[in-house]
Point group: C2
Chain length 142, copies 2
């Protein structure tokens, strides 16, 4: 069998991680959908909230092809949520950034996400929340 890597309770940590992730992603999807956004667009908004980047860099952040970004940004632009402008330093490059409406939506959505995810963690005491955060951060560390 393939489970040579762990034997004791390790398996259920992996399980718990996967289930947690599905639960979190379900929350994110729902909140995004409530604002007519896809999960990817939600990520885009998170990135552009405090940054102005080129299409290439955005594609890199998202792990998507540039050609995917073209369509993604075109749709968001048509909705008036992001804007595109020539990069002043490189005439090949195109900068993308949130419009005023996009920024407002980003704040709204980010607030909703924070609220809904906080609801998820509400079952834990303050102390447990702190310990959970510390463990997750240690795990995510490079």
């Amino acid at each position: 069998m393939a489970d040579s890597a762990q034997d004791n309770g390790d398996g259920s940590l992996v399980d718990a991680l996967a289930r947690t992730s599905y639960a979190v992603m379900a929350v994110l999807s729902r909140v995004a959908a409530e604002h007519d956004l896809s999960l990817t667009q939600l990520r885009v908004f998170g990135i552009l909230r405090d940054r102005r980047v080129t299409m290439s860099r955005l594609a890199e952040y998202l792990g998507l092809e540039k050609s995917t970004l073209t369509g993604l940004m075109a749709r968001a632009e048509k909705r008036g949520l992001v804007e595109r402008a020539a990069n002043p330093d490189d005439r090949r490059a195109v900068d993308v950034y949130l419009s005023a409406a996009g920024l407002e939506l980003a704040e709204t959505v980010s607030g909703a996400v924070a609220r809904e995810l906080a609801a998820l963690t509400a079952a834990l005491s303050a102390g447990e929340q702190g310990r959970l955060r510390a463990l997750l951060e240690r795990m995510l560390e490079p």
Copy 2:
């Protein structure tokens, strides 16, 4: 600002949860893609690994429309990974289940997922892993 729900370190717990989920989903996506499966198909395989269910029930598990399942299963069937058969009790219903090849793929993929996610948690000591698991499970509890 929208973050009225929390002030202290809580915000970063939500952050850590979201980042963890993205990391986990990235692993799942990658592993799935390595076996020419989508994230949804991965979930299907997880469900069908030890169950034979009707299309409707599967749709319910996944939170998808029945019409979505039709295409999903048709493609998987064409690849020889799942099979469909009339339900003996209800002649309207169609049961789906993994073929031998599908079952084998499911085991392989599940092993790979377990291994890759275990790699993620490898930064933590055995004790920390146990504590993390306990916290996550407490959080997921109904």
